[in-house]
Amino acid sequence: MISVGLLLVAWELYATYSGIRPTILPAPSRVFEQALLNRQALADNAIPTIGATLLGFACSLSAAFVLSMLVDFFQPLRRALFPVLIVSQTLPLVAIAPLVVLWFGFGLAPKIMLVALVTFFPMLVALVEGYESTEAEIGQMLRAMGAGRWRIFVLARLPSALPYFFAGLRISITYAVVGAIFAEYAGAAKGLGIYMLNVKNNFRPDLVLAAVGVSAALTLVLFGLTVLLQRLAMPWERAGKETAGKGAWR
Protein backbone atom coordinates (compact mmCIF):
# COMPACT_ATOMS: atom_id res chain seq x y z
CA MET A 1 0.00 0.00 0.00
CA ILE A 2 2.71 2.43 1.07
CA SER A 3 4.90 1.44 -1.85
CA VAL A 4 2.07 2.14 -4.27
CA GLY A 5 1.56 5.55 -2.67
CA LEU A 6 5.27 6.41 -2.91
CA LEU A 7 5.33 5.34 -6.53
CA LEU A 8 2.37 7.60 -7.31
CA VAL A 9 4.01 10.57 -5.56
CA ALA A 10 7.28 10.04 -7.44
CA TRP A 11 5.40 9.72 -10.72
CA GLU A 12 3.41 12.90 -10.00
CA LEU A 13 6.57 14.85 -9.22
CA TYR A 14 8.37 13.54 -12.29
CA ALA A 15 5.46 14.25 -14.64
CA THR A 16 5.03 17.77 -13.23
CA TYR A 17 8.65 18.94 -13.04
CA SER A 18 10.54 17.07 -15.78
CA GLY A 19 8.70 18.96 -18.52
CA ILE A 20 7.55 15.76 -20.18
CA ARG A 21 4.41 16.28 -22.24
CA PRO A 22 1.13 14.94 -20.81
CA THR A 23 0.45 13.22 -24.15
CA ILE A 24 3.49 11.03 -23.38
CA LEU A 25 3.30 10.62 -19.61
CA PRO A 26 0.34 12.20 -17.84
CA ALA A 27 0.55 12.84 -14.11
CA PRO A 28 -1.57 10.61 -11.87
CA SER A 29 -3.64 13.61 -10.83
CA ARG A 30 -4.55 14.20 -14.47
CA VAL A 31 -5.34 10.51 -15.00
CA PHE A 32 -7.61 10.63 -12.00
CA GLU A 33 -9.30 13.82 -13.12
CA GLN A 34 -9.92 12.46 -16.62
CA ALA A 35 -11.15 9.17 -15.19
CA LEU A 36 -13.77 11.11 -13.25
CA LEU A 37 -14.75 13.15 -16.27
CA ASN A 38 -15.06 10.03 -18.41
CA ARG A 39 -16.55 7.81 -15.76
CA GLN A 40 -19.65 7.12 -17.84
CA ALA A 41 -17.60 5.82 -20.79
CA LEU A 42 -15.34 3.84 -18.47
CA ALA A 43 -18.31 2.25 -16.73
CA ASP A 44 -20.00 1.44 -20.03
CA ASN A 45 -16.87 -0.30 -21.20
CA ALA A 46 -16.12 -2.02 -17.89
CA ILE A 47 -19.46 -3.81 -17.81
CA PRO A 48 -18.89 -6.02 -20.89
CA THR A 49 -15.40 -6.80 -19.58
CA ILE A 50 -16.81 -7.89 -16.22
CA GLY A 51 -19.44 -9.94 -18.02
CA ALA A 52 -16.89 -11.68 -20.25
CA THR A 53 -14.58 -12.32 -17.31
CA LEU A 54 -17.25 -13.85 -15.10
CA LEU A 55 -18.96 -15.84 -17.85
CA GLY A 56 -15.69 -17.15 -19.24
CA PHE A 57 -14.50 -18.01 -15.78
CA ALA A 58 -17.73 -19.77 -14.91
CA CYS A 59 -17.50 -21.85 -18.08
CA SER A 60 -13.88 -22.77 -17.50
CA LEU A 61 -14.57 -23.58 -13.86
CA SER A 62 -17.43 -25.93 -14.69
CA ALA A 63 -15.41 -27.62 -17.41
CA ALA A 64 -12.36 -27.93 -15.15
CA PHE A 65 -14.46 -29.42 -12.38
CA VAL A 66 -16.08 -32.04 -14.59
CA LEU A 67 -12.80 -32.97 -16.23
CA SER A 68 -10.94 -33.07 -12.92
CA MET A 69 -13.41 -35.65 -11.67
CA LEU A 70 -13.03 -37.73 -14.80
CA VAL A 71 -9.26 -37.55 -14.47
CA ASP A 72 -9.49 -38.55 -10.81
CA PHE A 73 -11.60 -41.58 -11.58
CA PHE A 74 -9.73 -42.65 -14.74
CA GLN A 75 -6.05 -42.06 -14.23
CA PRO A 76 -5.01 -42.92 -17.84
CA LEU A 77 -7.01 -39.89 -18.96
CA ARG A 78 -4.50 -37.73 -17.16
CA ARG A 79 -1.56 -38.97 -19.20
CA ALA A 80 -3.57 -38.57 -22.38
CA LEU A 81 -4.88 -35.08 -21.67
CA PHE A 82 -2.22 -33.20 -19.79
CA PRO A 83 0.32 -32.90 -22.64
CA VAL A 84 -2.33 -31.34 -24.89
CA LEU A 85 -3.40 -28.98 -22.14
CA ILE A 86 0.14 -27.97 -21.32
CA VAL A 87 0.68 -27.06 -24.97
CA SER A 88 -2.52 -24.99 -24.82
CA GLN A 89 -0.87 -22.95 -22.08
CA THR A 90 2.15 -22.10 -24.19
CA LEU A 91 0.09 -20.47 -26.96
CA PRO A 92 0.91 -16.76 -27.02
CA LEU A 93 -2.24 -14.78 -26.32
CA VAL A 94 -1.28 -12.03 -28.79
CA ALA A 95 -1.34 -14.53 -31.64
CA ILE A 96 -4.38 -16.48 -30.54
CA ALA A 97 -6.70 -13.61 -29.63
CA PRO A 98 -7.07 -12.16 -33.16
CA LEU A 99 -7.58 -15.65 -34.60
CA VAL A 100 -10.33 -16.50 -32.15
CA VAL A 101 -12.01 -13.20 -32.90
CA LEU A 102 -11.64 -13.89 -36.62
CA TRP A 103 -13.32 -17.28 -36.24
CA PHE A 104 -16.02 -16.41 -33.75
CA GLY A 105 -16.77 -12.75 -34.41
CA PHE A 106 -16.97 -9.66 -32.25
CA GLY A 107 -19.55 -11.07 -29.85
CA LEU A 108 -19.24 -12.58 -26.42
CA ALA A 109 -18.20 -16.06 -27.60
CA PRO A 110 -14.51 -15.37 -28.40
CA LYS A 111 -14.07 -13.53 -25.08
CA ILE A 112 -15.50 -16.40 -23.13
CA MET A 113 -13.25 -18.78 -25.03
CA LEU A 114 -10.10 -16.80 -24.38
CA VAL A 115 -10.86 -16.33 -20.68
CA ALA A 116 -11.53 -20.04 -20.47
CA LEU A 117 -8.35 -20.85 -22.33
CA VAL A 118 -6.14 -19.02 -19.86
CA THR A 119 -7.94 -20.14 -16.70
CA PHE A 120 -8.99 -23.69 -17.46
CA PHE A 121 -5.69 -25.45 -17.07
CA PRO A 122 -4.58 -23.80 -13.81
CA MET A 123 -7.95 -24.71 -12.28
CA LEU A 124 -7.80 -28.27 -13.57
CA VAL A 125 -4.30 -28.78 -12.19
CA ALA A 126 -5.28 -27.24 -8.86
CA LEU A 127 -8.26 -29.56 -8.51
CA VAL A 128 -6.46 -32.72 -9.60
CA GLU A 129 -3.53 -32.06 -7.28
CA GLY A 130 -5.97 -31.17 -4.54
CA TYR A 131 -7.70 -34.55 -4.79
CA GLU A 132 -4.32 -36.19 -4.74
CA SER A 133 -3.38 -34.43 -1.51
CA THR A 134 -5.96 -36.50 0.37
CA GLU A 135 -4.33 -38.25 3.31
CA ALA A 136 -3.84 -41.92 2.42
CA GLU A 137 -4.96 -42.97 5.90
CA ILE A 138 -8.30 -41.24 5.46
CA GLY A 139 -8.89 -43.16 2.25
CA GLN A 140 -7.93 -46.46 3.84
CA MET A 141 -10.16 -45.77 6.84
CA LEU A 142 -13.15 -44.89 4.67
CA ARG A 143 -12.66 -48.03 2.64
CA ALA A 144 -12.56 -50.06 5.85
CA MET A 145 -15.83 -48.37 6.84
CA GLY A 146 -17.35 -49.64 3.62
CA ALA A 147 -17.25 -46.51 1.49
CA GLY A 148 -17.01 -46.88 -2.29
CA ARG A 149 -15.01 -44.67 -4.63
CA TRP A 150 -17.75 -42.12 -5.07
CA ARG A 151 -18.32 -41.82 -1.30
CA ILE A 152 -14.59 -41.42 -0.74
CA PHE A 153 -14.48 -38.73 -3.41
CA VAL A 154 -17.30 -36.74 -1.86
CA LEU A 155 -16.34 -37.27 1.78
CA ALA A 156 -12.57 -36.92 1.52
CA ARG A 157 -11.05 -36.03 -1.84
CA LEU A 158 -13.29 -33.10 -2.64
CA PRO A 159 -12.88 -31.33 0.72
CA SER A 160 -9.15 -32.07 0.68
CA ALA A 161 -8.91 -30.18 -2.61
CA LEU A 162 -10.44 -26.98 -1.24
CA PRO A 163 -7.19 -25.20 -0.29
CA TYR A 164 -5.73 -26.04 -3.71
CA PHE A 165 -8.93 -24.95 -5.40
CA PHE A 166 -8.85 -21.55 -3.75
CA ALA A 167 -5.14 -21.07 -4.45
CA GLY A 168 -5.91 -21.81 -8.11
CA LEU A 169 -8.90 -19.51 -8.02
CA ARG A 170 -6.86 -16.57 -6.75
CA ILE A 171 -4.34 -16.95 -9.56
CA SER A 172 -6.85 -17.67 -12.30
CA ILE A 173 -9.14 -14.77 -11.55
CA THR A 174 -6.32 -12.36 -12.37
CA TYR A 175 -5.58 -14.24 -15.60
CA ALA A 176 -9.26 -14.08 -16.43
CA VAL A 177 -9.37 -10.28 -16.44
CA VAL A 178 -6.24 -10.08 -18.58
CA GLY A 179 -7.69 -12.67 -20.95
CA ALA A 180 -10.93 -10.75 -21.36
CA ILE A 181 -9.12 -7.46 -22.06
CA PHE A 182 -6.87 -9.15 -24.60
CA ALA A 183 -9.87 -10.61 -26.40
CA GLU A 184 -11.54 -7.19 -26.55
CA TYR A 185 -8.32 -5.61 -27.73
CA ALA A 186 -8.37 -7.96 -30.68
CA GLY A 187 -11.85 -6.87 -31.64
CA ALA A 188 -15.00 -5.89 -29.81
CA ALA A 189 -17.83 -3.40 -29.91
CA LYS A 190 -17.42 -2.42 -26.27
CA GLY A 191 -15.12 -3.31 -23.43
CA LEU A 192 -12.07 -2.03 -21.58
CA GLY A 193 -9.75 -3.67 -24.10
CA ILE A 194 -11.19 -1.97 -27.16
CA TYR A 195 -11.56 1.27 -25.18
CA MET A 196 -7.83 1.25 -24.40
CA LEU A 197 -7.06 0.75 -28.08
CA ASN A 198 -9.35 3.57 -29.17
CA VAL A 199 -8.13 6.18 -26.69
CA LYS A 200 -4.53 5.23 -27.43
CA ASN A 201 -5.19 5.91 -31.11
CA ASN A 202 -6.61 9.27 -30.06
CA PHE A 203 -3.33 10.08 -28.26
CA ARG A 204 -4.92 9.98 -24.84
CA PRO A 205 -2.49 8.03 -22.63
CA ASP A 206 -4.27 9.52 -19.62
CA LEU A 207 -7.41 7.63 -20.56
CA VAL A 208 -5.45 4.48 -21.35
CA LEU A 209 -4.07 4.66 -17.84
CA ALA A 210 -7.50 5.40 -16.43
CA ALA A 211 -8.78 2.21 -18.09
CA VAL A 212 -5.79 0.32 -16.72
CA GLY A 213 -6.70 1.64 -13.29
CA VAL A 214 -10.25 0.40 -13.71
CA SER A 215 -9.10 -3.06 -14.77
CA ALA A 216 -6.67 -3.18 -11.84
CA ALA A 217 -9.46 -2.23 -9.46
CA LEU A 218 -11.67 -4.87 -11.03
CA THR A 219 -8.99 -7.52 -10.55
CA LEU A 220 -8.48 -6.50 -6.94
CA VAL A 221 -12.19 -6.70 -6.19
CA LEU A 222 -12.47 -10.16 -7.75
CA PHE A 223 -9.36 -11.27 -5.86
CA GLY A 224 -10.88 -9.98 -2.63
CA LEU A 225 -14.07 -11.87 -3.37
CA THR A 226 -12.18 -15.16 -3.69
CA VAL A 227 -10.46 -14.53 -0.37
CA LEU A 228 -13.83 -13.81 1.23
CA LEU A 229 -15.32 -16.90 -0.36
CA GLN A 230 -12.51 -19.03 0.99
CA ARG A 231 -13.08 -17.76 4.51
CA LEU A 232 -16.74 -18.63 4.27
CA ALA A 233 -16.12 -22.03 2.70
CA MET A 234 -13.32 -23.10 5.02
CA PRO A 235 -14.20 -21.97 8.55
CA TRP A 236 -11.91 -24.62 10.06
CA GLU A 237 -8.81 -22.83 8.74
CA ARG A 238 -9.36 -19.82 10.94
CA ALA A 239 -10.62 -21.90 13.83
CA GLY A 240 -7.38 -23.85 13.76
CA LYS A 241 -5.35 -20.72 14.29
CA GLU A 242 -6.94 -20.05 17.63
CA THR A 243 -5.61 -22.36 20.27
CA ALA A 244 -8.68 -23.37 22.23
CA GLY A 245 -8.09 -26.66 23.99
CA LYS A 246 -4.40 -26.76 23.14
CA GLY A 247 -2.14 -27.73 25.99
CA ALA A 248 -4.79 -29.67 27.86
CA TRP A 249 -3.36 -33.15 27.88
CA ARG A 250 -5.86 -35.05 29.98
Binding site: I138, Q140, R143, W236, G240, G245, W249
Partner: protein, 255 residues
Protein backbone atom coordinates in the same frame (compact mmCIF):
# COMPACT_ATOMS: atom_id res chain seq x y z
CA UNK B 1 -12.96 -69.33 20.86
CA UNK B 2 -10.93 -67.28 18.42
CA UNK B 3 -12.59 -64.68 16.26
CA UNK B 4 -9.74 -63.57 14.03
CA UNK B 5 -7.28 -66.14 12.84
CA UNK B 6 -4.36 -65.64 10.46
CA UNK B 7 -2.43 -68.56 9.03
CA UNK B 8 0.87 -68.18 7.24
CA UNK B 9 0.07 -64.71 5.96
CA UNK B 10 2.74 -63.29 3.67
CA UNK B 11 3.07 -60.06 1.75
CA UNK B 12 5.67 -58.58 -0.57
CA UNK B 13 5.68 -55.18 -2.26
CA UNK B 14 7.36 -55.82 -5.58
CA UNK B 15 10.59 -57.52 -4.58
CA UNK B 16 10.41 -56.30 -0.99
CA UNK B 17 9.38 -59.04 1.45
CA UNK B 18 7.48 -57.27 4.22
CA UNK B 19 5.51 -59.99 5.99
CA UNK B 20 7.33 -63.30 5.98
CA UNK B 21 5.02 -65.61 7.85
CA UNK B 22 2.36 -64.39 10.22
CA UNK B 23 0.08 -66.73 12.12
CA UNK B 24 -1.95 -65.40 14.98
CA UNK B 25 -5.35 -65.45 16.57
CA UNK B 26 -7.48 -63.10 18.62
CA UNK B 27 -10.25 -64.40 20.87
CA UNK B 28 -13.58 -62.78 21.66
CA UNK B 29 -13.18 -59.98 24.17
CA UNK B 30 -9.44 -60.31 24.08
CA UNK B 31 -6.96 -57.42 23.87
CA UNK B 32 -4.00 -58.52 21.77
CA UNK B 33 -0.96 -56.48 20.76
CA UNK B 34 1.46 -56.80 17.90
CA UNK B 35 4.78 -55.44 19.01
CA UNK B 36 7.57 -54.80 16.56
CA UNK B 37 10.17 -52.30 15.41
CA UNK B 38 9.35 -49.45 13.02
CA UNK B 39 9.21 -50.52 9.41
CA UNK B 40 8.65 -54.17 10.32
CA UNK B 41 5.38 -54.38 8.42
CA UNK B 42 2.84 -53.86 11.18
CA UNK B 43 0.71 -51.35 9.31
CA UNK B 44 0.92 -53.56 6.25
CA UNK B 45 -0.81 -56.31 8.22
CA UNK B 46 -3.74 -53.96 8.85
CA UNK B 47 -3.80 -53.06 5.16
CA UNK B 48 -4.37 -56.75 4.46
CA UNK B 49 -7.09 -57.01 7.10
CA UNK B 50 -8.95 -53.94 5.85
CA UNK B 51 -8.66 -55.04 2.24
CA UNK B 52 -6.47 -52.15 1.12
CA UNK B 53 -3.84 -54.67 -0.04
CA UNK B 54 -3.92 -58.34 -0.85
CA UNK B 55 -1.45 -60.93 0.37
CA UNK B 56 -1.02 -64.66 0.56
CA UNK B 57 -2.12 -67.05 3.26
CA UNK B 58 -5.37 -67.51 5.12
CA UNK B 59 -7.30 -64.88 7.00
CA UNK B 60 -10.36 -66.16 8.83
CA UNK B 61 -13.01 -64.39 10.86
CA UNK B 62 -15.29 -66.61 12.93
CA UNK B 63 -13.98 -69.44 10.83
CA UNK B 64 -14.96 -67.92 7.47
CA UNK B 65 -12.48 -66.37 5.02
CA UNK B 66 -12.23 -62.60 5.19
CA UNK B 67 -13.57 -60.98 2.07
CA UNK B 68 -14.66 -57.53 1.12
CA UNK B 69 -18.30 -58.23 1.90
CA UNK B 70 -18.22 -58.94 5.61
CA UNK B 71 -17.09 -55.83 7.43
CA UNK B 72 -15.79 -56.92 10.77
CA UNK B 73 -13.29 -54.25 11.65
CA UNK B 74 -13.37 -50.73 12.97
CA UNK B 75 -10.00 -49.39 11.95
CA UNK B 76 -8.06 -46.57 13.54
CA UNK B 77 -5.14 -45.54 11.29
CA UNK B 78 -1.68 -44.67 12.50
CA UNK B 79 -2.31 -40.93 12.23
CA UNK B 80 -5.64 -39.94 13.71
CA UNK B 81 -7.06 -39.30 10.21
CA UNK B 82 -9.56 -36.82 11.58
CA UNK B 83 -11.02 -34.73 8.78
CA UNK B 84 -9.94 -31.12 9.42
CA UNK B 85 -13.09 -29.78 7.78
CA UNK B 86 -15.49 -31.72 10.00
CA UNK B 87 -16.34 -30.75 13.53
CA UNK B 88 -15.47 -33.34 16.17
CA UNK B 89 -19.09 -34.45 16.42
CA UNK B 90 -19.23 -35.01 12.67
CA UNK B 91 -15.90 -36.78 12.64
CA UNK B 92 -17.27 -39.12 15.28
CA UNK B 93 -20.35 -39.91 13.20
CA UNK B 94 -18.40 -40.59 10.00
CA UNK B 95 -18.50 -44.38 10.21
CA UNK B 96 -22.21 -44.43 10.96
CA UNK B 97 -22.91 -42.11 8.03
CA UNK B 98 -20.95 -44.36 5.70
CA UNK B 99 -23.04 -47.26 7.00
CA UNK B 100 -26.08 -45.35 5.79
CA UNK B 101 -27.35 -43.73 8.97
CA UNK B 102 -28.75 -40.19 8.65
CA UNK B 103 -26.37 -37.59 10.03
CA UNK B 104 -28.92 -36.40 12.56
CA UNK B 105 -29.57 -39.89 13.88
CA UNK B 106 -25.85 -40.58 14.01
CA UNK B 107 -25.29 -37.43 16.06
CA UNK B 108 -27.93 -38.49 18.55
CA UNK B 109 -26.25 -41.88 18.88
CA UNK B 110 -22.75 -40.45 19.34
CA UNK B 111 -23.38 -37.39 21.50
CA UNK B 112 -23.84 -39.22 24.85
CA UNK B 113 -20.39 -40.80 24.50
CA UNK B 114 -18.51 -37.52 24.48
CA UNK B 115 -18.34 -37.29 28.27
CA UNK B 116 -16.90 -40.78 28.62
CA UNK B 117 -14.24 -39.91 26.05
CA UNK B 118 -13.34 -36.67 27.82
CA UNK B 119 -14.60 -34.59 24.92
CA UNK B 120 -17.71 -33.02 26.43
CA UNK B 121 -17.97 -29.42 25.33
CA UNK B 122 -15.79 -29.97 22.26
CA UNK B 123 -18.47 -31.37 19.96
CA UNK B 124 -18.53 -28.21 17.85
CA UNK B 125 -14.76 -27.75 17.70
CA UNK B 126 -12.62 -28.50 14.69
CA UNK B 127 -9.80 -31.06 15.06
CA UNK B 128 -7.15 -28.33 14.78
CA UNK B 129 -8.52 -26.79 17.96
CA UNK B 130 -7.87 -29.93 20.02
CA UNK B 131 -4.77 -31.17 21.80
CA UNK B 132 -3.04 -34.33 20.62
CA UNK B 133 -4.56 -36.49 23.33
CA UNK B 134 -8.05 -35.21 22.65
CA UNK B 135 -7.62 -35.86 18.94
CA UNK B 136 -6.67 -39.46 19.64
CA UNK B 137 -9.70 -39.91 21.87
CA UNK B 138 -11.89 -38.40 19.15
CA UNK B 139 -10.40 -40.82 16.63
CA UNK B 140 -11.02 -43.70 19.03
CA UNK B 141 -14.59 -42.55 19.56
CA UNK B 142 -15.10 -42.49 15.80
CA UNK B 143 -13.73 -46.04 15.73
CA UNK B 144 -15.76 -47.66 18.52
CA UNK B 145 -19.16 -46.15 17.62
CA UNK B 146 -19.12 -48.19 14.42
CA UNK B 147 -19.99 -51.19 16.61
CA UNK B 148 -17.98 -53.60 14.55
CA UNK B 149 -16.86 -57.00 15.78
CA UNK B 150 -13.31 -55.96 16.38
CA UNK B 151 -11.08 -52.91 16.78
CA UNK B 152 -7.85 -52.50 14.82
CA UNK B 153 -5.71 -49.81 16.44
CA UNK B 154 -2.51 -48.79 14.66
CA UNK B 155 -0.14 -47.09 17.09
CA UNK B 156 -2.90 -44.88 18.48
CA UNK B 157 -0.59 -43.04 20.85
CA UNK B 158 2.60 -43.06 18.80
CA UNK B 159 2.54 -39.34 18.07
CA UNK B 160 1.89 -38.19 21.64
CA UNK B 161 4.38 -36.89 24.18
CA UNK B 162 5.33 -39.34 26.93
CA UNK B 163 3.14 -37.83 29.62
CA UNK B 164 0.02 -37.71 27.46
CA UNK B 165 0.72 -41.18 26.17
CA UNK B 166 0.82 -42.65 29.67
CA UNK B 167 -2.40 -40.87 30.57
CA UNK B 168 -4.06 -42.18 27.43
CA UNK B 169 -2.90 -45.75 28.06
CA UNK B 170 -4.46 -45.70 31.53
CA UNK B 171 -7.63 -44.23 30.12
CA UNK B 172 -7.82 -46.84 27.35
CA UNK B 173 -7.24 -49.68 29.81
CA UNK B 174 -10.11 -48.42 31.93
CA UNK B 175 -12.35 -48.01 28.87
CA UNK B 176 -11.52 -51.51 27.74
CA UNK B 177 -12.48 -52.98 31.11
CA UNK B 178 -15.93 -51.42 30.74
CA UNK B 179 -16.50 -52.39 27.13
CA UNK B 180 -14.43 -55.56 26.64
CA UNK B 181 -13.87 -54.86 22.97
CA UNK B 182 -12.12 -57.49 20.94
CA UNK B 183 -9.06 -55.54 19.95
CA UNK B 184 -5.83 -55.86 18.04
CA UNK B 185 -3.33 -53.11 18.82
CA UNK B 186 -0.17 -52.29 16.90
CA UNK B 187 2.64 -50.69 18.84
CA UNK B 188 6.39 -50.39 19.05
CA UNK B 189 6.17 -49.44 22.72
CA UNK B 190 6.94 -52.43 24.97
CA UNK B 191 5.47 -50.83 28.08
CA UNK B 192 2.27 -49.96 26.26
CA UNK B 193 1.87 -53.53 25.02
CA UNK B 194 2.40 -55.00 28.48
CA UNK B 195 0.15 -52.46 30.16
CA UNK B 196 -2.82 -52.95 27.83
CA UNK B 197 -2.73 -56.50 26.52
CA UNK B 198 -3.87 -59.96 27.43
CA UNK B 199 -1.44 -61.36 24.91
CA UNK B 200 1.43 -59.99 22.84
CA UNK B 201 2.89 -61.17 19.56
CA UNK B 202 6.46 -60.03 19.15
CA UNK B 203 7.47 -59.33 15.56
CA UNK B 204 10.95 -59.44 14.07
CA UNK B 205 12.30 -56.67 11.87
CA UNK B 206 11.35 -56.80 8.19
CA UNK B 207 10.57 -59.27 6.73
CA UNK B 208 8.35 -59.70 9.74
CA UNK B 209 7.76 -63.03 11.39
CA UNK B 210 6.37 -63.76 14.82
CA UNK B 211 9.25 -64.54 17.09
CA UNK B 212 7.31 -65.06 20.29
CA UNK B 213 3.81 -65.11 21.72
CA UNK B 214 3.63 -63.84 25.27
CA UNK B 215 0.75 -64.07 27.71
CA UNK B 216 0.39 -61.18 30.12
CA UNK B 217 -0.94 -62.72 33.32
CA UNK B 218 -1.17 -59.42 35.20
CA UNK B 219 -4.41 -58.66 37.06
CA UNK B 220 -6.75 -55.92 35.91
CA UNK B 221 -7.13 -53.08 36.52
CA UNK B 222 -3.52 -52.73 35.58
CA UNK B 223 -1.60 -50.65 38.08
CA UNK B 224 1.60 -48.70 38.03
CA UNK B 225 2.72 -49.69 41.50
CA UNK B 226 3.19 -52.65 43.83
CA UNK B 227 3.84 -56.26 43.02
CA UNK B 228 2.09 -56.26 39.65
CA UNK B 229 4.23 -53.37 38.49
CA UNK B 230 7.40 -55.28 39.33
CA UNK B 231 6.07 -58.25 37.40
CA UNK B 232 5.30 -55.97 34.50
CA UNK B 233 8.82 -54.57 34.50
CA UNK B 234 10.28 -58.05 34.44
CA UNK B 235 8.07 -58.92 31.52
CA UNK B 236 9.07 -55.74 29.68
CA UNK B 237 12.75 -56.57 30.16
CA UNK B 238 12.20 -60.08 28.85
CA UNK B 239 10.40 -58.78 25.75
CA UNK B 240 13.05 -56.16 25.06
CA UNK B 241 15.62 -58.93 25.18
CA UNK B 242 13.68 -60.96 22.65
CA UNK B 243 13.28 -58.02 20.28
CA UNK B 244 16.90 -56.96 20.46
CA UNK B 245 18.11 -60.51 19.88
CA UNK B 246 15.71 -61.07 17.00
CA UNK B 247 16.68 -57.82 15.33
CA UNK B 248 20.06 -57.80 13.64
CA UNK B 249 21.88 -54.60 14.62
CA UNK B 250 21.70 -53.10 11.14
CA UNK B 251 19.72 -50.12 12.40
CA UNK B 252 16.07 -49.74 11.68
CA UNK B 253 14.38 -47.43 9.26
CA UNK B 254 11.54 -45.19 10.22
CA UNK B 255 8.22 -45.16 8.48
Amino acid sequence: MSRLELRYVRKAFGGLDVLADISLSVGAGEFVSILGPSGAGKSTLFQLLTGAEHGEGEMLFDGAPLDDHGRHFAFMPQRDALMPWRRILDNATLGLEVQGMRRQAARVRVAPLFAEFGLAGFERHFPAQLSGGMRQRAALLRTVVQQRDMLLLDEPFGALDALTRTAMQRWLEQMWRHHRWTALLITHDVREAVFLSDRIYVLSARPARIVREIKVPLPRPRSLGGDAARQASALEAEILDIILNATPSKGHDHD
